[in-house]
């Protein structure tokens, strides 16, 4: 189970997986968005503004799914104390926040012609905004704990506590009367016509692959950063120690 928790093995795997995920995700998401923007017919009520769906929905999924991954990594870090889990959580935070912001921005642009307002404080919109702030808080906390050398547990606990917001976002349109429409995709049922559904699913898959590629890229960068730091520290402490005994070999 812990085979890939070893940073060296992880790096070997990530080296070929990163470009694979990144490029396939980029091609698929660009293709799916082009399909949605240029090829599908307009919606009967929303007209052309339905096309923003093909960015909004994948971004919303990754904003929420990103926090799910961050919370799982945080739990793994607390339980097994494995540094790679902490690296994963930190790597997820920034892309997760970006997709969360994309979701809010595209939703706002869609809301203006559809609802007649840029922003309303309904359950779905408010809870999604809270998720954006949670990402910001997590990034600040994890950077502070990485730089100041304080406990890694603080951001991990924050990541776990923040996870409660994810089911709240998901259920907000069911529990409360809201301006945002209820879920269109429920277990085995789709209220989205197949004409829209296929490019949407392609966009969700493409964006997810791209997200995976970005996270791996950031994990590699964070590990490299730690190796450089460890090497510099070692060199500063003792000039006799041969250079090259970095974190990957040591951990």
């Amino acid at each position: 189970m812990h085979i890939y928790a070893n940073p060296k093995r992880f790096l070997t795997l990530a080296k070929w997986l990163t470009p694979l995920l990144f490029w396939s995700g980029l091609v698929l998401s660009l293709g799916a968005v082009a399909w949605g923007v240029f090829m599908v017919p307009p919606d009967q009520l929303m007209g052309d503004s339905v096309r923003i769906l093909f960015i909004h929905v994948p971004a919303a999924w990754l904003g929420m799914g990103g926090w799910g991954g961050l919370a799982l990594s945080s739990a793994a870090l607390l339980i097994w104390k494995h540094p790679l889990a902490g690296v994963a959580a930190r790597a997820i935070a920034v892309p997760g926040m970006v997709f969360c912001a994309i979701c809010l921005a595209t939703g706002s642009i869609w809301g203006r012609p559809t609802w007649g307002t840029w922003w309303e404080w309904d359950g779905r919109l408010t809870s999604m905004l809270v998720l954006l702030f949670l990402y910001g808080g997590y990034i600040a906390l994890s950077q502070a704990s990485a730089r100041e050398g304080s406990s890694y547990k603080i951001p991990a606990i924050f990541g776990l506590v923040g996870a409660i917001n994810v089911p709240i976002i998901n259920r907000s349109v069911v529990w409360w009367n809201s301006l945002h429409q209820p879920p269109s995709l429920t277990a085995g049922k789709s209220a989205i016509d197949a004409t829209f559904l296929w490019p949407l699913l392609a966009a969700v898959l493409g964006f997810s692959l791209l997200f995976g590629g970005l996270v791996l890229m950031r994990m590699r960068a964070l590990i490299a950063e730690q190796q450089v730091e460890a090497r510099l520290r070692r060199r500063a402490l003792d000039d006799d120690v041969p250079v090259g005994a970095g974190l990957a070999e040591g951990a």
């Binding site: 012609p113 529990w175 009367n177």
Partner: protein, 153 residues
Amino acid sequence: MKAKHQRMTLVVLALIAIIGAGLIATWALRNQANYFYLPEQMAAEPPAVGQAVRLGGMVQQGSIETQADGVTVNFVVTGNENSTVPVTYSGILPDLFVEGSGVVAEGHLQADGTFLATNLLAKHDENYVPRELEGMEGHKDNSDYIETVAGNP
């Protein structure tokens, strides 16, 4: 018990406590966090005359009447049950404001029982249907789509 298992128990217990706290908080919020009142909710607990509230529901078929001045419209909002609320609004209507679709009106209840709206928002439902295919042969029957409800009381 290994330290690892102890930590796992602790994390699981903490998660259960957090989820429990979250559920209790949202349960307590369930009436306060509603974005709007449905007509039946307004009938059951009428807000004070003049108090700023939102009314949401479906625009009743055939109920939209434009007044002689051209900017004032009267229509009737229905909920999931039989109760209805008549609404008066003057101003620009959102594009999606049509009979049989969802609407959220901001305003207040008047003494005669009608709702004076100061702002109208159109509510989109969860169905996405392409324009060209609507009503065409071979197209998914409308009954396949989720029947839209005005809200979740």
